[in-house]
Amino acid sequence: MAQQEFIIDRYNPDTDESYQESFNVDVQPGQTVLDSLNAIKWEQDGTLSFRMSCRHAICGSCAMKVNGQSMLTCQTQVDAAAERGDPIRVGPQGNQNVIKDLVVDVTKFLDQFERAETWLEPYEDQDPPEREYRQKVEEFDHWSHASTCIHCGACYSDCTVAGVDENFLGPAALAKAYRFVMDSRDSKRDERLKFLSEEQGGIWDCTRCYMCVQACPKDVLPMDAIMELRTLAIEAGHTNNHGVRHHKGFTSGVRKRGRLDEMMLPIQSVGIGRLITGNLSAHKEMMDYTPGAIRLLKTRKLLTIAQRHGANAEGREQIERIFDEVEAEKHHHDVDADAFGAEFETAIGGH
């Protein structure tokens, strides 16, 4: 039996006091971080609070930060978490308020599912079949990974956007929305894609940092789901929104000049058409960019026109070639998407 040190973030709500506390625990081979937290609670300090229930990675209660990264403590072996005999640091999930010790207020995280209306909306104009809806194995396999979410919040805790944007729906709710967009039993596919494209904090606010995929203890792959939603939304014609304009402005700038055109990007994202026609909210959106732009200028992150020269001729030729190759690849991908789309139509045609 070996000893392992744990350094645990504590918070006492009665005194509003935050501190770290160290505990030494006897560990056996195969012991998990949750086993160790229980050993501390039951044998050393009963005041230590955390959530847990099933202890086999299905109830989603015990996600916490272990050495800075969110994971299910029941699924994490002490041996795997302890590097070179260093102490294991356990803290509460991020992006949420701490209630006590390792317990966070999950309301904000769970409210996002309600906001995204992640439940099946059946077809209202017809009764369901007498037996089950038919659903092809391929269709089910395409989205079923996203239905494995256990709502543990690990992705939301480590999400780099949720930390700075209260409005962000977050990886889990978006992945769950994806699951209903893809499910032929749902009648609101198009409404969902429109909402997810236009809502503040929707699919276009993800920065593709991949932290959610890394944190997820299941096979949900939230970021991949968000990226697929973007493609589906564009295909469905939901292009008149900030996200798609930003996306187009970004690529056209790179294609034209070989570099990101920071000055033009906000204008393109807000929409040149909207600005010219004197759309008030568009002008307000532009104003919202101003403080950030000034900060970027001061720190020389945003270059003035005189400083922006972009790539030379040879470089631009290379960039053009890359774009051509990507587009050829994309065409190939679209053929697959078309075939899938046809299958999807057949599947929902039965309703």
């Binding site: 009963g46 609070s49 229930s53 109830c59 989603g60 699924q75 439940w119 089910f140 494995t148």
Partner: protein
Amino acid sequence: MLQHDVLIVGSGLAGMRAALEVSNDPTLDVAILSKVHPLRSHSGAAQGGIAASLGNSAEDSWDLHMFDTVKGGDYLVDQDAAEVLTREGPENIFELEHMGCAFSRDDEGRVAQRRFGGHTAPRACYAADRTGHAVLTVLFEQLLRRGVKVYSEWYALDLVVKDNVCQGLVAYDILSGQIEAISAKAVMFGTGGYGRAFRVTTNAFASTGDGVVMAYRAGIPLEDMEFVQFHPTGLQGSGILLSEAARGEGAHIVNSDGFRFMENYAPGRMELAPRDIVARAEQSEIEAGRGVTSLRDSVFMDLRPIGEERIRYALPSVLHLARDFAGIDPLDAPVPIQPTAHYSMGGIPCDINGQVRIKDLDGAPEITGFFAAGEASCVSVHGANRLGTNSLLEAVVMGRRAGRGILDVVHDLEPTSIDEGDMANAIGEVDRFLTADGSQKVGEIRAELRDTMMDKCGVFRDDAELRECLGEVKEYQERFENVAIDDHGSTFNTDLLDAIELGHMLEYSEVITVGAIARQESRGGHARRDFPDRDDENWHRHTLAYRPQDGDDGPRLEYCEVNMEPKFREPFPLQERTY
């Protein structure tokens, strides 16, 4: 005092399905109360499937399903209940499917079905090997859609019953530490099972039999508590469940000689015999010295005959659990497994509409306004042993029926009320723990209790061991009087909840043991070495255990008849149970 028309305690499949049904009446105010967020409920841990005779893979019928259930339960099953369960199975599955449940599909796009122990046809509908999770999720989604009120992380302390009329509940808000009375015309318990009293168990930390004990303390007898199912394929040591679906897909179980020993116990069904039989076979092999690993306390389950591709597709959770919790890759090596306390056949006695009834008395008077469904209840659809995949089915079918049962009567029920006197017990219990300065620790007593129950009231039982078990449980109860906790705060005090839960475990462990001592026969999950045969003449009846009154030495036992009156067919007569 808070007030609702209908209050459902427990947010697993039974509770949520019932709430959904009640919410069909927009004039009713229904709420769910649960000590964990609904998505954390233990129903989500069910893996292998949910049974129904859809006949998608092979010919099947509800009465074949009913026969399997009655025989699987060693004829202690109430046949009116088994009939309802199996007849209404398919429509309940289709309903879940229409709600969006993520069921796996067969080549025709229908709900896929596979084999399970004790079922003669492939009738386990599944969502890979996370079926409970898929059903739990879809029910919660639909509750959100309906906007049903949820008291999440509220702990029920006391059920208030006056003159056989249920008044409501006293509950503790875990976040704030406030104790509140919640009155309701109808209360339903879907509070789950009581497997946590055993050292090796598949059950979540939350499965501490709270609802069962609250009913018992309110004067309602508990039915058939001695019947606890040991699942044959728990991971060695932790007891974490490896789904029976593994055997349904073709896994072998072998002893230290590499022999598929089920050949000697149930040659007709091999590994797919019912759970009680496989668990006893394993225990017998282990006790005969044919166990595996250095501890010789387990046998091997070998998944390799299934093939890698199918394991990855149909059993991803089993694959991950073995890797993450035992460090063994089932694609390369067999996994050591042992019997693990899994399911509580006993519980709160109720009829097929979820109405709680004291069955032993003339006319079986009901507890007006009190309903139960799922593992907390004893209808009894499982009798002495539950078949795999029948538990999710029971939770859904009986949850829906209890919801309808409530709708049938609730408009005629009088408003109820809870006064300060009714809250005194609950307030006193919380105060006692918050101010106690005893020398005993919750964790220590609990660990000893779980050892005692596992070792002396486990897969095999006999009179001497059971009496030792009872003595030890009583000793723990005495020590518990002198328990103290560390946390005296009011916010998220899980130390306090641990103590209250241990009180529940100590109380029902005594009931299990007393029922097991009295039942001098072997039937289903209750196997007596000293009475190895089933004794229909004396014991084809349900146990009812009443809480001791002043002067009683322990629970008072009564017995009642097993229902043999299905409505739509002849009853299945008692037969010898062989596989």
